[in-house]
């Protein structure tokens, strides 16, 4: 796609997003807010998966630790948003510094170890009930407020999330186009070659892991103010694997992909669960179908069709 067309498309999408609250009811607005939040989480997973080639299954941990930290500070200690939100991101990022040790391994080992790490966080959230509230979690999280500026409705919160999202995607775009972003793709393409060119590949992956954890933590903060409560489900393995699926369904290594994937998965879940009890089975089927028939995701599919159309057009 030529650059001008891409910018135009981005502006059209942005305009639609800005105008959405005028046409959508509360249900749809909530669903789209959720899609943004989980899209951001999927984007953080995709920094590792699509660019560096690492498949992390513990990103619900950063998401949840950040959400819990913010919620506990805000609800129990009446800490203002201006401190509680950064503290949440900081807590999730610090956990990323620890879990980042997983980059000592690759491939299956990395996958299995991140799964195990993820369970630690779930286990603590679940069992340390005196602090985390156990299965009930932390409830009654207020809307965020900055001094006298307060968010007072889901629509206002929607705009806040949208603004953060736009800033994040711009930042993400700069990051993946930077020399550092290029080194990640280099490691994905050939790590042995990278080492022989002078790269300490573990260190690059570690930094990427921490950056990715920070982004997931940001999503966690946005989540807790949207959801108004957090419980161990936020830290659970199904969240980690579903956001990875979102990135893949949408298309890895792209920026819009994770958001498209998030929209598809959340939309599907809402739709199926409204009339079919075995909705988890349907999600399971989506996993299988994606792996077997659409490994490049929706964006990959569109690109393929686009290329075909362009070829047909030039003929």
């Amino acid at each position: 796609m030529p650059k001008a067309a891409r910018i135009l498309l981005a502006l059209v999408v942005l305009a639609a997003a800005v105008l959405l609250p005028r046409v959508a009811g509360p249900f749809w607005l909530g669903l789209v807010t959720q899609m943004y939040v989980f899209g951001l989480l999927a984007l953080s997973v995709d920094l590792l998966l699509g660019h560096a080639g690492l498949f992390s299954l513990c990103h619900a941990s950063f998401f949840a630790v950040s959400a819990y930290t913010t919620a506990i500070l805000q609800v129990r200690h009446a800490v203002p948003t201006a401190l509680a939100a950064p503290a949440g991101i900081l807590a999730g990022t610090i956990l990323g510094l620890v879990f980042g040790l997983a980059v000592r391994t690759r491939g299956v080992y990395f996958i299995l170890i991140t799964i195990a790490f993820g369970y630690v966080v779930w286990g603590v959230a679940h069992r340390w009930s005196s602090f985390t509230g156990g299965d009930n979690g932390v409830t009654n999280v207020p809307f965020p407020a900055l001094g006298t500026l307060r968010v007072e409705s889901p629509t206002e919160y929607y705009y806040l999330v949208l603004a953060v999202l736009v800033l994040c995607t711009i930042g993400y775009r700069v990051l993946v186009a930077s020399p550092f972003g290029l080194t990640l793709r280099g490691i994905k393409a050939s790590e042995t070659r990278m080492r022989s060119l002078g790269y300490h590949s573990d260190l690059h992956l570690y930094v990427a892991f921490v950056v990715s954890a920070a982004l997931a933590s940001l999503a966690g903060v946005l989540y807790v103010y949207y959801n108004r409560f957090v419980n161990p489900v936020a830290a659970s393995f199904p969240i980690s694997v579903e956001v990875a699926l979102m990135a893949i369904v949408g298309g890895t290594g792209t920026i819009v992909g994770p958001f498209i994937g998030s929209g598809i998965i959340l939309g599907l879940r809402n739709w199926v669960s409204s009339f079919f009890e075995l909705y988890a089975s349907v999600m399971g089927l989506v996993f299988i179908v994606v792996v077997l028939w659409a490994p490049d995701g929706v964006v990959g599919l569109v690109v393929r069709l686009w290329v075909r159309a362009v070829k047909a057009g030039t003929r």
């Binding site: 186009a177 930077s178 020399p179 050939s190 042995t192 070659r193 990278m194 022989s196 060119l197």
Partner: protein, 248 residues
Amino acid sequence: MALSAIEVGDLTKDFGGLRAVDRVSLRVAAGERRVLIGPNGAGKTTLFHCITGTLRTSAGRVSLFGRDVTHLPEHRRTALGMGRTFQTSNVFMDLSLLENLVLAIIGTDRRKWVMHRSVGTFEAVRAKAREGLELVALAHRANDAAKFLSYGERRQLELALALNSDPRVLFLDEPCAGLSPSERHSISRMIGELPRDITVLMIEHDMDVALRLADRVTVLHRGRAILEGTPTEVQTNPEVREVYFGHV
């Protein structure tokens, strides 16, 4: 005596019970062109891997311009001036040729950590990358992904990657393997034209290429360095004729 570019002492590499490299010692002078020859399975590539740090040695020492690098990881050795090519082309298939070269250029400096500016804004790096591609006659394909290159072009890119990491000592693992005679000729000409401030160690099966480029030749056989000498000395040595030329 002048400082050796590379000095290897009693280097040994075992794989399980198999000894691939057996107490090999080498001294390569700065600026020298050294060619390693030997039949298949003689341990040439393994020796290269051990010197450049791709594999850990089982025993022995490696030093680079007098500095002991035996226990340094590969990327540190590259930073100190080692550069290499791989026997089977090891280029970044999904990246464009330009990006391939950019990675080679920034590998040993701090720009690889920059996160807030796009690669496109580094004019000096891009210019150097283009130059690097011109040198191996691939500039016209700068924006193609490496996976679309022909086998021969990949070998050229492979060489360009090694050259652009600014090596003081260059290790070339069969740079001409699998190439047509004309491609072979152009690669060996490029190697021949390298400035003398780069020391070159090269594994080569093609005796014509090897003997034309080499100042000195080391013969490996069953993991051991059995002989070292000028190309003429090696060619006329009866033992070499038996173990090497006898097999070809």
